[in-house]
Symmetry: C2
Subunit: 476 residues, 2 copies
């Protein structure tokens, strides 16, 4: 942060060199990407297990051809990941680990695709194929970017120690990812993680995501009578577990739609004024957002905007509720049991273990006499957040701004992802570099990616490695 | 009420005459009842439709043999009912309609029966068979009772105009009963209805039930997003219908466990001090009651005992609740919809139409912006209650007291039944005369009835027709 930014002249020559390289290799880049996209690496469908393995092998071979001295396929009990490494020629350079995934969502022509999802087609500026944006396209721009970086700087190796980890089970919930990272934690060690599996605000508004929410989830079972009992004979005189489950839900939030579980907000990293200003400057259309949410009203924690609520505030949501008779007509019973599935989105500063303890204490306190309960928690995903003034984040913003020729803005992501495992195990900040836009149709028919944006992604990394090496080292 | 009670001497001679008749005909009564019980008149099982018809025919023939001048099988779109009539020789006598049912619950040896459920067996003082208590046995004691009444009084016809309506679909929810009653309302017209399809407190504590709760039920559907949406992308910023359904449940009751729907208690007939005293005198063992309820704590409206809560207070119970993902594991969604099945037990003074309007207004008031809702009500059953000082109720209590040689006490019934339709259509008070006891195992394997109690039931009716004719006419 202390070193002055490179001069405008150096910038201009670097930019033209990078663009010249990217332009010259655009066609080959597209051909190679299309070849990879033809492999239907659908991790969720067992009949595609071989394809996921082929996809990993293909990528490892391609990374070697790109120049990575090391490119390995890492087996897991499920689908394989690919690891590649290209050390810098400067031993003191920072180490960066890029994360992406090579598996894709299921896709079939009859789901509503205009063309075969595994036969890439370019229409206008867009490449249509399953995985074009999520995530093969965004992994692939790194191969072009590192070559452009070398060409423009004249180096024989990147300015940073570059590592790549490309998972094969992200679309299946990354069941073996954390184990894989823990097992290889020495080889994956990095000063920063760059996740290329997100997007930006819009074609006209390039943005850098600064964090994702974590998530903890649990199932609560409430048991009343040993079996369903007659609501005429007993109604009004014994506790009803379906009533108790409703009260638990109602007690989740206070009248300001804040989560009312004692201790829930403990440690929460609050939004800074600067972040709130930046979010407020984004061209956000709430009516349009509501249409995306297929919802009929905004609703949430008092004192926060919709974007702040989904990006930066922790939540408690009911994912499922059930108890008693749910078939046609009526059945006059007091049900034996009821259940509730809750998930809590967590933000930086919240610890899943503390949240679990708070929820357990709260439930025990709420459940009335005569109702027995059990709570089962799933494996949590931690939140991650990199402060706006983190030097590596500043480098990403600068590199992207150079590629897009405008100042980039900042967003966050409301969802949760395996990136948090990297942050957690490797103790490294997580940065997000994605160029996909909301209309790319992730997980939907006719997934596509904007080719210009994909090349801007490559261009961004070409500047990024230089910028990181220059600016970050100073603050180490 | 104004006429002096018959002299003790008359009483004693009437009692010995009735007992002599009952004793003399005990064996034949049992043989005939056993013959009827052998017909497996299970209304819920289509394969027994012929048996239900046979049961009706058998009963009509038996009632004719008993002496009823009229005994008809009344067809319905479902199973047939039996109607019989025996006018008094005193044209000014009151008219009494006895209600019971000749269909039975399903039963199979493999459900846990010690003997064939449709091959009656006497073990000790008890007759074991499906329908022994519910309700063939309790219909059948009326045939012996009316003959004993005639024998003891020396009359050629009963002291009251006696009518009998024996339904064939009670165990299937009486789907055609109200239509049947409306269709035949002139022939069913009565000054009082006597329902013989309930029981009494215990073998040692004969009781008369003075009322049943009614019931209204509804299903509420709450719709949020048009489809399930991602709780990461949207969680915390749009209303969740599963949260809304929980809040609706929580808002059903206040902190005193009173129903919090405005207007719900309007018109409620409160318990009198005398009724509360009488209930409190019953030998009620709450721990034992809880075991019957398979429950772990009493719970209910503040200021009322458990018996008062189930017998005399209106309730709101959640019979079913559902929404979102209820399978194994977690699913991080905001569900598109949630639903709630509620039933309201009603007491005298509450009108189901007013309750429906109150519930609709309350739900509309509770549901938050962005959640759409629909409510569907089922057909209600009205409550019925006969005041303790009603002369016909006093007659029942007196007749039963004479048969059991002790003062009878009073109960109510928390459930709801087709009796309310009789009260509603015929505009006649409903009285309950039952001699079954809780251990008889209604709807359970090894259903049985205590033969001594069954004969006490016959004896009660033998006194009752005389008592009613004597005491009730005066107040007409």
């Amino acid at each position: 942060m202390s070193k002055p930014v490179s001069s405008a002249a150096t910038d201009a020559s670097a930019v033209s060199a990078v663009r010249a390289y990217v332009d010259a290799h655009r066609a080959a880049f597209l051909d190679d990407l299309a070849e990879w996209l033809r492999i239907p690496s659908v991790s969720a469908q067992p009949e595609h297990a071989d394809d996921v393995r082929r996809s990993a092998d293909w990528l490892a071979a391609h990374l070697k051809a790109t120049g990575f001295p090391t490119a390995e396929v890492w087996r897991t009990p499920g689908a394989p990941a690919v690891f590649a490494e290209w050390p810098s020629d400067d031993p003191g350079a920072p180490t960066v680990l890029v994360y992406g995934h090579h598996d894709v969502q299921p896709a079939a022509r009859e789901d509503g695709w205009d063309t075969d999802p595994f036969e890439p087609v370019v229409r206008g500026d867009r490449l249509h194929a399953r995985g074009a944006a999520d995530d093969k396209g965004q992994v692939f721009f790194h191969t072009l970017g590192v070559r452009a970086h070398l060409a423009a700087t004249g180096r024989g190796a990147p300015a940073v120690h570059l590592k790549l980890l490309v998972e094969g089970e992200e679309e299946s919930g990354s069941p073996h990812f954390r184990d894989l990272v823990e097992q290889h934690r020495e080889r994956l060690a990095a000063d920063a993680v760059i996740v290329s599996d997100t997007g930006m605000w819009s074609r006209d508004t390039p943005t850098v995501c600064t964090g994702m929410r974590g998530v903890a989830d649990c199932e609560i079972e409430l048991r009343g009578p040993d079996q369903d009992i007659h609501s005429g004979s007993f109604g009004g005189a014994v506790p009803n577990p379906a009533t108790a489950v409703g009260r638990l839900v109602a007690a989740l939030h206070d009248e300001h739609a804040r989560v009312a579980i004692p201790g829930f907000y403990e440690g929460v990293t609050e939004l800074t004024d600067r972040e709130r200003e930046l979010f407020a400057e984004l061209p956000f259309d709430e009516a349009e957002w509501l249409r995306t949410a297929a919802s009929y009203a905004p609703y949430g924690e008092a004192g926060y905007t919709t974007l702040e609520r989904v990006w930066a505030r922790p939540t408690a949501e009911v994912n499922g509720i059930g108890g008693g008779y749910q078939g046609a007509g009526g059945k006059t019973i007091i049900p034996a049991s009821a259940m509730l599935k809750l998930s809590f989105r967590l933000v930086a500063g919240q610890d899943p273990d503390r949240i679990e303890a708070s929820v357990r204490a709260w439930v025990a306190d709420q459940v009335p006499a005569g109702i027995r309960h059990t709570i089962t928690f799933g494996a949590p995903t931690r939140p991650c957040l990199t402060p706006l003034d983190h030097p590596a984040l500043q480098s990403v913003a600068r590199a992207m701004g150079r590629a897009f020729e405008q100042e980039v803005r900042f967003t966050r992501e409301g969802g949760s992802g395996p990136a948090a495992d990297l942050q957690d195990v490797l103790k490294a900040p997580v940065l997000f570099l994605g160029v996909s836009i909301p209309s790319d149709g992730w997980h939907a028919p006719n997934e596509k990616v904007d080719l210009d944006l994909l090349l801007k992604g490559a261009e961004t990394t070409a500047y990024l490695w230089t910028d990181l090496a220059e600016h970050w080292r100073d603050t180490d």
